[in-house]
């Protein structure tokens, strides 16, 4: 009750500590945080950045007010609110021979900005067609690692992994320079000038549903509730 009275004042004085990967913090959140902050200038925002595995542990320990996840198993222990969807694409360094054979399937950043990859008529690829590639993948503990492995399993082979990394955006930058392929989010690719070709993937798990996750608690602070509502209306 005291907490609740306190909170009535809190839209002019609250604090939200949220955690995300670099992808979340640098590509999904900046615009919406800036808009939210303009409307709620009394609410202090704190942004923590770690690997998915560390963020999970921090949320369990109540060291964060909220985080974002698309890992369904992980969500069971938390309160969840649907947040946004993204689509995983295969990205191949543009110098690679395979891009010639697959030319008809390749998408440009413009195509992706325009949502061409979301149309049913847009042709998609199977990883079987990229069996000879080397891969840069996310490391275990990141949900995209498990999704990638599920796709390779369906395609019937073990990928040749030359490097693993904990951040999607780092894997993306590395792949510009290595003779390799990786998995990226469509929301990262928009307006990119990276030296990569992009392919729509023919797998259900390439679509990711992100949720805002909160620790299980009896009472959600007013500032956190206001942020969740704002995020869901404006993303």
């Amino acid at each position: 009750m005291e907490q609740q009275i306190q909170d009535i004042k809190n839209l002019s004085s609250g604090h939200i500590c949220m955690g995300g990967s670099h992808y979340l913090n640098a590509y999904i959140l900046p615009e919406i945080l800036a808009q939210f902050s303009k409307k709620n200038s009394g609410i202090e925002l704190e942004l923590v950045e770690h690997s998915a595995a560390t963020l999970s542990a921090m949320l369990s320990a109540h060291e964060l007010d909220l985080t974002f996840s698309c890992n369904e198993e992980f969500m069971e222990d938390f309160e969840k609110y649907p947040a946004f969807t993204d689509y995983i694409l295969l990205a191949v360094q543009e110098d690679q021979e395979i891009n010639k054979a697959m030319e008809k399937f390749a998408l440009t950043p413009e195509d992706i900005s325009n949502g061409r990859h979301l149309l049913e008529t847009c042709p998609s690829v199977s990883l079987e067609q990229f069996r000879e590639m080397e891969y840069i993948l996310l490391s275990e503990g990141n949900n995209l690692h498990e999704r990638s492995m599920r796709m390779f399993h369906e395609a019937g082979y073990e990928p040749d992994v030359i490097m693993e990394n904990a951040q999607l955006v780092t894997a993306y930058h590395l792949t510009e320079h290595f003779p390799a392929a990786t998995f990226v989010s469509d929301r990262l690719v928009r307006n990119s000038q990276a030296r990569l070709k992009y392919y729509k993937l023919n797998y259900e798990c390439a679509e990711r549903e992100f949720y805002i996750l909160l620790p299980k608690q009896n009472y959600i602070p007013v500032a956190v509730k206001a942020f969740i509502d704002y995020f869901r209306e404006n993303i």
Copy 2:
């Protein structure tokens, strides 16, 4: 001795675990790691990404073979090799009024790619001229936090900080959307299309000397030694 005999074979079979911030891993290392990996295809590279504070602790605990730092105090406990220099610029969101008054000082990403900011003739700014701005800064434990504070101290005021973050690149992306200023590296800005104006800073500490740091040890593994030599010749 056994370790050394083992190592003679190791250029065809070594492993290097290196740690960096997102800035290092995504903007400084990809090209040089790709070239090194091409020449030394037997050496496995592992790339770990954390805040500067966490990386320091990991190096002390010998959980990394090497990391990068420009924090002179921190270096005393480690073996160090000069690696590269960068220059901190002030970045201001392009919609901000102050950019009009400071128009003559503003640099474009092209100017920075061409090294114009390195010329003595390039005019620089003092933070006094940006006293009314709000700032997004790196959090404590990151050397750039201390450097920023030294500059504000010289300019004679406490900055109005609206958000702190542990990663330079995240602060950079946030500042595209917030009505704010931040500090960025010249090596990040090259070829950027971010909605920001850049200013050369009139402070000695805006120049950062990065070193490769190794745990103190009697013997440096051959693969690590080969990487250090390659990095220093090719950066």
